[in-house]
Amino acid sequence: MRNVILRVKERFVSISVIFVTAIFLTVFLLVEDELSFTVLMLVGGGLFYFVKRRDCFKEVIVFARQSRYGFLICIFLALLTVLIILRNEHFALFMIASVALYSTVCFGLTIQLGYAGLTNFAGAAFFGVGGYAIAVLSSENFPDILSVLTGGFMAALVGSVLILPILRTRGHYAALVTIAFALLFKTFLELNDTLGGPQGLKISSMNMFGWDFGKSFFGGSFYLNYVLFSLLVMVSIFTLTRLLEKSWIGLHWDALRIDEISSASFGINISSWKILAFTLGNFFIGLSGALYAKMLGHIAPTNFTFGDSLILISIVILGGIGNPWGVIPAAFLIIVLPEKLQFIQEYRLLLFALLVILVLLYRPDGLFKKALRSFYRGWGKV
């Protein structure tokens, strides 16, 4: 016990930074009107500047490197605090779950774009495939947990239609293939009445192994169910994504992304690695699409337009291409910020666009640049 206290004292700065950030985000999720928002932004900006000048972020990174479990426990406790404060705030919880699911989608895109270098401008389409798969299956009384997985499989399957053109093209040409797919996907859904046409489909709420997501969770909001499950999915897929990166597979993807010709000259089978990245990425995207659809309870073609695919790509770029760590704050920014700007109503998209432009000018490589690969803990220490 004494040991724990000593350790906490040792890491005091890092721990406070983590908790202050958590509480800041909580308040951020709760503020509504422009005055509080502006004050909060000013406070946040000042605090950020202050923490950055004292190099406290480095402190946190050192903490994360040196005692992984302590760091994880700390993050977990911070998250728990946030969830306890927000236990009855339906909307804030809804936004947290959305951020978690959008992040999960973007891990899939990170595998495609950041690791294997495949530009996928049809992310929202595969997101939608997952959603539609689960919509059809839940009306058939299929077990929900299997439906979620099927959503992923369906997305991977539909994606296989594009594999041939994607393998043959590169760069902007490959981008066009997926753009074309994204555009035709939405129109196709609208025109075909078998899948609900433009009105879309209704979906029952999630229920697995007797865990009814539609009911209040220990006296809190029913959205807590979704938050917990989405966070679980996000953490698992994040871990998988990182493990992929820190393995021979990630190495192969990096090699072929950077230089196809030299990779081919060293025996790397470009096509099969690209297929793996594309399929796996789409699987993750479809999976979270299915979950998102369950949470929304209703999906329609206009949720999955080309514009939505661009939002997904924006998250990946803004976070720093190829860095799953960057995805989460970027998703938070892209998903929650427009929502927080509701008080300026019709001006919010304009301001949002300008803010993103500023971020990119200030940090041309995205928020966090991808770091060198470390295969396991203690990598590179002699």
């Binding site: 493990l243 393995s247 021979w248 192969h252 090699a255 230089d259 000259s265 295969f375």
Partner: protein, 258 residues
């Protein structure tokens, strides 16, 4: 010549109407260092690209130890034991030295999805084995590089980058090594170091056949056993460097005299 290591007969490559390589015959013996020289645009790199399967030949055959490898993909060629370096370095500069070298050894890596994701301790053992292997190879060239194993290639000097590229080609224990102008961009001193490296390679692996494209004639003179001179895609001379350099048609080709 049936038993030679690498043997090409009638190699012809065309780009549209342009014949980049026409009817090239050559062979490489075990342990031999063959120089491939000729003016710019004479088809040397094209020859490498064709052997390694990046370009398709219009005619001709290539065989490795008597086995026909004509029309193989780059991946198959690599698996047969032919590796190369590139004239303009093709290292992944954003990746670490270790990563770059392991790309050269990709076929020996266990890429099973389950193994990579869930058998992490076994993977760690494999990685540690690879670290030792990599260290052994680079210390042959420059022991100082061992300390830079975890640094990005972008932080290395030109000669170290060249060394890494050669190591990447050597790590899979190839039978044939194709070196495309390794001295490009090096200082004279670095070039001298590099020649020593070449000698080192030859003593370490006596059976390895090497083809070297080079513009620095003193490099060619001091390291090659035999030379082939190309001009406009045709072989115009073959023999030891002394013989070749006396050949008047070679002089014409280089100096552009008629």
């Amino acid at each position: 010549m049936g038993n030679s290591l690498l043997n090409s007969q009638g190699l012809t490559v065309k780009f549209g109407g342009l014949t980049a390589l026409s009817d090239l015959n050559f062979s490489l013996e075990k342990g031999e260092l063959l120089g491939l020289i000729g003016p710019n645009g004479s088809g040397k790199t094209t020859c490498f690209n064709t052997i390694t399967g990046i370009y398709r030949q219009a005619a001709g055959t290539t065989s490795l130890l008597g086995k026909d490898i004509t029309g193989f993909t780059p991946q198959q060629i690599y698996k047969c034991g032919i590796t190369r370096t590139f004239q303009r370095l093709r290292l992944a500069v954003a990746l670490s030295v270790f990563d770059n070298l392991l790309i050269g050894d990709s076929s020996s890596l266990n890429t099973n999805l389950f193994f990579n994701l869930f058998q992490r301790s076994k993977l760690k053992q494999e990685i540690e084995k690879k670290i030792n292997k990599v260290k052994k190879i680079i210390s042959v060239f420059n022991p100082a590089l061992v300390d830079k194993l975890y640094e990005p290639v972008s932080k290395l000097s030109m000669i170290d980058r060249r060394r890494i590229e050669v190591c990447r080609a050597l790590i899979s224990d190839p039978k044939v090594l194709l070196l495309d102008e390794p001295s490009a961009g090096m200082t004279q001193e670095e070039t001298r170091d590099f020649m020593n490296d070449l000698h080192e390679i030859k003593t370490k692996s006596p059976d390895l056949g090497i083809i070297l494209i080079e513009h620095e004639m003193n490099v060619i003179e001091s390291v090659t056993d035999r030379c082939i001179v190309l001009s406009y895609g045709k072989k115009i001379s073959e023999g030891s460097f002394k013989d070749v350099s006396r050949n008047p048609s070679v002089r014409t080709a280089y100096l552009g005299e008629d």
